[in-house]
């Protein structure tokens, strides 16, 4: 298998996490409500709060917290 084949492996990239800047778990929790409201208001949440999306990709627990908060806020409005 060539190096280029390996580079396409999504599992390894997922195991190794994001390559760039990401916020901490504490910062993620601090900003999570703002991020979700921005998302649901159609704003560019990633531009407003850089590094948070990358953290959500690398931290399953924070990602679950995000997904739950977003789903709960959406359900409130349904």
């Amino acid at each position: 298998m060539s190096a280029s084949d390996h580079r396409n492996d999504g599992t390894l990239e997922r195991v190794l996490g994001p390559t760039g800047f990401e916020v901490t778990c504490e910062q993620c929790f601090e900003l999570l409500d703002q991020y979700v409201d921005l998302e649901l208001n159609g704003a560019d949440a990633d531009a407003h709060l850089p590094g948070l999306r990358a953290h959500l990709e690398g931290c399953p627990a924070c990602r679950e917290d995000h997904d739950s908060l977003r789903a709960l806020v959406v359900s409130d409005g349904s």
């Binding site: 280029s4 990239e13 195991v15 996490g17 760039g20 990401e22 929790f29 999570l32 908060l69 359900s75």
Partner: protein
């Protein structure tokens, strides 16, 4: 003061259905932070009031916390099918109680960057999520030896099977053995390969989610740098970045 009927701001006309500010001269609440939405101002006002008004607001907030905790429980029920419903209800109630205390103690931290309810919900979801993850893993063994990689490789499983199929397992094992400290190896194998929930591991190691994620982040950077030299993965793009 009865709470007004709440309307979601997303995609709806603003102003209609939002609460009024408390105007009772007997109540001298602190002003709401600039930029806060009306419903957020209402919450801050009544939660900072005195007497019956505050008691009613706290009770209403507890209802919201309980609703959020039960919402989280409903999302995780499949993974908790072995746990009695009564115990799960108790966990949700405890999470709501803890979240209520957290919100009340952090009211001054609310800056109005989101709606108050979104801000408050996250405390209940965090409390419930942590408690339910830990309960789901209560009877499960977590191998924490630095050399647990060997067990992992022999046992097989999701991530391991996926990596083996692309013949990367050996490359990763070499990098883990050569680049990581024993603690980094222990944390990386548990979190990234064995997919132990970080809140479960933090409890077993008596540490915090943030501290563990910092260790995981540092381990990942080392491994990525090692594997990128062989052209196996993209290199780190932010050498000065931090995590936590």
């Amino acid at each position: 003061m009865a709470p007004p009927r709440r309307r979601r701001a997303h995609g709806r006309p603003r102003g209609e259905g939002y609460p009024r500010r408390v105007s009772d001269p007997a109540v001298t609440p602190r002003p709401a932070p600039p930029g806060a939405e009306p419903d957020s101002e209402w919450w801050l006002t009544v939660l900072r009031a005195d007497g019956l008004e505050r008691e009613e607001a706290v009770a209403r907030l507890h209802e919201l916390m309980l609703k959020a905790a039960r919402f989280e429980l409903s999302r995780r029920r499949a993974a908790l099918s072995h746990v009695r419903g009564e115990e799960l209800d108790d966990i949700a109630t405890q999470a709501a109680n803890d979240a209520l205390m957290a919100v009340l103690s952090k009211l001054d931290d609310f800056r109005g960057a989101s709606r108050f309810t979104t801000w408050a919900y996250k405390f209940a979801l965090l409390e419930a999520g942590v408690k339910l993850r830990r309960r789901a893993w209560q009877e499960r063994e977590v191998v924490l030896e630095p050399d647990a990689w060997t067990d992992f490789a022999e046992r097989g499983g999701g991530v391991q099977a996926e990596l083996e199929s692309s013949e990367l397992l050996g490359e990763l094992k070499t990098a883990i053995d050569s680049a990581l400290t024993p603690h980094q190896r222990r944390v990386f194998v548990a979190l990234a390969l064995n997919e132990v929930p970080i809140d479960v591991l933090s409890e077993r190691l008596d540490t915090t989610r943030g501290a563990l994620y910092k260790t995981l982040h540092d381990a990942r950077k080392k491994l990525r740098a090692e594997l990128a030299e062989s052209g196996l993965v993209e290199p780190n793009s932010d050498e000065s970045g931090r995590s936590g």
